[in-house]
Amino acid sequence: MMKINLKVWRQKNAMSKGKLVDYELKNIDPHMSFLEMMDTLNESLILRGETPIEFDHDCREGICGSCGMMINGQAHGPVAGLTVCQLHMREFKDEATIYIEPFRAKAFPIKRDLRIDRSAFDRIVQSGGFISVSTGQAVEANTLLITHETAESAFDSAACIGCGACVATCKNSSAALFTSAKIAHLVKLPQGKKEATKRVLNMVRQMDIEGFGHCSNTEACEVKCPQNISILNIARMNWEFNKTGGVLR
């Protein structure tokens, strides 16, 4: 069993000022997941009549992209390639002090405590992150031949879970990794090439409108991406963007 000291960011709403609050937890099983540790803390807060800590979470198997927090300054915590719901307490030392803060970016306003508003990501997808095909229009699936390598490469880009760790990790709060992964996923496939020009121009513009910063190639996003999305996607986005000359022809 472990003893853990937490410093958790508490903030009532987007307008109010937040602060770090200390909590001490005893009897933490090292096999607990990080969020189960948070559940345990919340359970004790409820019974003490205090307000539990709000945090985003849902599937708890690393795929829905809901959870995300800065743990000791790192998005999703110290282990590479996973979301915070898959992080386990065995990764921390007994009597460790752990700082827990929300993902911070101008484009991700804080709702309460560790809960943030990531609807900017949805709006980026709305601006062009799709193939315009309505139900019923599709041709027979095997008439579109896609090599194994192409399909696998498109999948690598498509695996993004939209958690926002890339933004939180980037010193510029850039959404380049998120946006480029969708652009690359679709442009790698033959059925996605038709709208490539419009897509890259609109999605890049929307990224700017939302207030995300620019990419300055620090590559930090890739390091903290739970799905190991490669920064080569950003290179692909830039290439696709440059091909357009910046204007819709």
Binding site: D58, R118, A141, N142, L189
Partner: protein
């Protein structure tokens, strides 16, 4: 009362085309005048909302998650079935129909299941057109794998993230309609009640989870795509937010609930390690293509798995079901695991698991091949357990997973409330008493893309001339007040126990008495205990905070309150069915070999339950299942 599923006359393979040919249409100019509410943005909800918006209807779409892309379809791993017969291995629409009916233990409707198989062909085309990166052969053709309960390879997949990729396809289609102004999307809005006007579904009451405000929405029809309720067991493969509240509220407003106790326990999940645990992670069933399941032959085995010699291992699925082996259907595999674990042969610290062993496959195919097929699952296993499944077998156990039961719907996917439709896992329709692997993504998609667009028009054409529902109608005010009062009641209890405490307690009770196996005695005890839990809940619950703010605890408490009522119905459902079929195993009804003993003479029907009152016996209605094209047989996988 008998309920009528309105199945079209005629030969099986013509029913759906006959229905479509006769169904009423609405011209494009008139579709613009009609509003549809779709609750839920999983594969069923997103595909329905996008498809209906493409047709020109005004769609409002709701989800409790902070983005439509996060609904739990995202977590489906294995794949989606379709009778394309790309493998030339004898597959066909009929074969898929046959496998699904048999897999469901002859407790589903022939017409629905045939339609599911028929529409599976279009779904793969649609998904590929959207850019879903399904696995491909080197020549560029689509690849397939095999799943439990079948002898062909008809499963299309995208590594172990098939649900994510299919959902993103539907989500992107939905986002396109949002950008075109055809869909109003309300994320972080939870449906808390249904509004009926003159007996028809005309709107919903929702709570904005970001500010706690209760809001009203009116429409000409309501589509529920709110998923399954396996989370009622607390420990399950579902997401923390999955719940029964939307369908439960619809049920209390008059929609019948069909076979709610038919819950599938998935055989390949990570076993529970402690009381703090919040979920049981699923490891895709596709693992059973290459993994071999076994337990030690001896009780009190203390050696590590690799130290137990072959001769002292019991590969019980291969032994008992030689023709299907490790790919026996889920209900059978789960029950067989429970039987071994209950016999004291379980493995792991808590003796609550069985081994899933890849050593033979690694020896035969090489580690790289196994890594390519299941790499993400092996790394997930390592992250959670800290053990390396390339070196030693995985420890797995069954966990609550999929609700075959749900809102009763007819062939048009309409509930017993006119204008209220239920699609995807939220309904009871295609899977009977046991769902086959990779059929859930299929059903969700087919319902949303290919069925509801036709059947909803058939209903809405009759609504064109009727007066439009308005949120200023007194029914909306009345139900909004009921919702607010209900939430205030929960907050005002101010007791000493959290909603998780009650949820865990209820889950444990259901797992033991209304889970993998059931008995009349256990179910009757459970019904009594649920009464006590309910009483304790309303006396000793503690919810912090208030209604008018972000309040995750209040959300949980409201869901648990509904689960308590739902649990009562589940137990009555299981109690009334004096036979064993699929996931429903009554200890009193089994063969001398311990297999399920179905009773077609007495129970060849769908139990459609009508709400009566809290903690009371619900009212049973029957929909007889008529098998015109397939003869119910003993479901043998030996």
């Amino acid at each position: 009362m008998m309920v009528d599923a309105k199945i079209p006359e005629g030969p099986l393979e013509k029913k759906w085309s006959k229905y479509k040919a006769a169904a009423k249409l609405i011209n494009p100019a008139n579709r613009k005048k009609l509003k549809v509410i779709v609750v839920g943005t999983g594969l069923a909800g997103s595909s329905a909302a996008a498809s209906l918006a493409e047709l020109g209807y005004h769609v409002s779409s709701f989800c409790f998650q902070d983005s439509a892309r996060r609904a739990h379809s995202v977590a489906a791993q294995g794949g989606v079935n379709a009778a394309k017969n790309y493998q030339n291995d004898g597959d066909s629409v009929y074969r898929m129909f046959y496998d699904t009916i048999k897999g469901g233990d002859f407790r589903s409707r022939e017409a629905n299941v045939y339609r599911l198989a028929e529409c599976s062909l279009n779904l793969i085309d649609q998904a590929v057109a959207q850019g879903v990166p399904f696995a491909r052969e080197y020549g560029g053709y689509l690849s397939n794998r095999s799943f439990g309960g079948v002898q062909v390879s008809r499963t299309f997949y995208a590594r172990g993230q098939s649900g994510q990729q299919l959902l993103l396809g539907a989500y992107q289609a939905l986002m396109r309609q949002v950008s075109l102004g055809k869909v109003n999307l309300y994320a972080r809005h939870e449906m808390l009640d249904l509004v009926l006007i003159d007996g028809k579904a005309k709107g919903i009451i929702v709570r904005n989870l970001d500010d706690g405000k209760i809001e009203r929405f009116a429409a000409d029809a309501v589509v529920m795509a709110t998923g399954g309720f396996g989370k009622i067991y607390y420990l399950s493969t579902l997401a923390m937010g999955c719940n029964a509240s939307a369908i439960w509220r619809a049920h209390k407003r008059g929609a019948f609930m069909a076979c709610p106790s038919w819950i599938q326990f998935h055989p390949t999940c990570l076993s529970q390690a402690g009381d703090y645990q919040s979920k049981l992670t699923l490891m895709s069933e596709s693992l059973r293509n290459d993994g071999r399941i076994w337990v030690p032959k001896l009780n009190n085995e203390s050696r590590a798995a690799n130290d137990i010699p072959e001769s002292e291992r019991d590969y019980y699925l291969e032994r008992k079901y030689p023709s299907f082996g490790n790919l026996a259907p889920r209900d059978i595999s789960s029950r067989a695991a429970k039987e071994r674990i209950d016999a004291g042969l379980g493995v792991g610290v808590l003796k609550n698991a069985v081994y899933l062993d890849f050593s033979k496959a690694i020896k035969e195919q090489g580690k790289h091949k196994i890594e390519e097929k299941y790499g993400n699952l092996f790394s997930m296993y390592k992250k959670i357990t800290d053990d390396d499944a390339y070196q030693e077998p995985m420890r797995i156990s069954p966990a609550a997973h999929f609700s075959m039961g749900g809102l009763w719907v007819d062939y048009e996917l309409m509930t017993t409330i006119p204008g209220l439709f239920a699609i995807g896992e939220a309904n009871f329709a295609d899977h009977g008493a046991n769902r086959l692997g990779a059929n859930s993504l299929l059903q969700a998609s087919v319902d949303g893309y290919f069925i509801i667009p036709y059947t909803i028009a058939n209903y809405l054409s009759g609504e064109l001339k009727n007066k439009k529902a308005d949120i200023s109608n007194s029914e909306f005010a009345l139900i909004e007040t009921e919702v607010s009062d209900r939430l205030k009641t929960l907050i005002n209890i101010r007791g000493n126990k959290s909603s998780d405490y009650f949820h865990k307690k209820l889950g444990k009770l259901l797992y033991h008495q209304c889970g993998l196996s059931r008995s009349a005695k256990g179910l009757m005890e459970a019904i009594e205990e649920i009464k006590q839990y309910t009483e304790e809940f309303y006396q000793d619950l503690r919810v912090s905070g208030s209604v008018n703010e972000i309040n995750a605890e209040l959300e949980k408490a409201a869901r648990v309150a509904d689960y308590l009522e739902m649990a009562n119905l589940m137990c009555y459902d299981a109690l009334s069915r004096e036979e064993s079929c699929g996931a429903h195993f009554r200890e009193e009804y089994q063969t001398s070999e311990g297999e399920a003993l179905r009773n077609d003479e007495k129970f060849c029907y769908v139990s459609a339950w009508e709400w009566s009152k809290v903690n009371a016996k619900p009212i049973l209605h029957k929909e007889p299942l008529v098998f015109e094209f397939m003869k119910p047989s003993v479901r043998s996988y030996r």
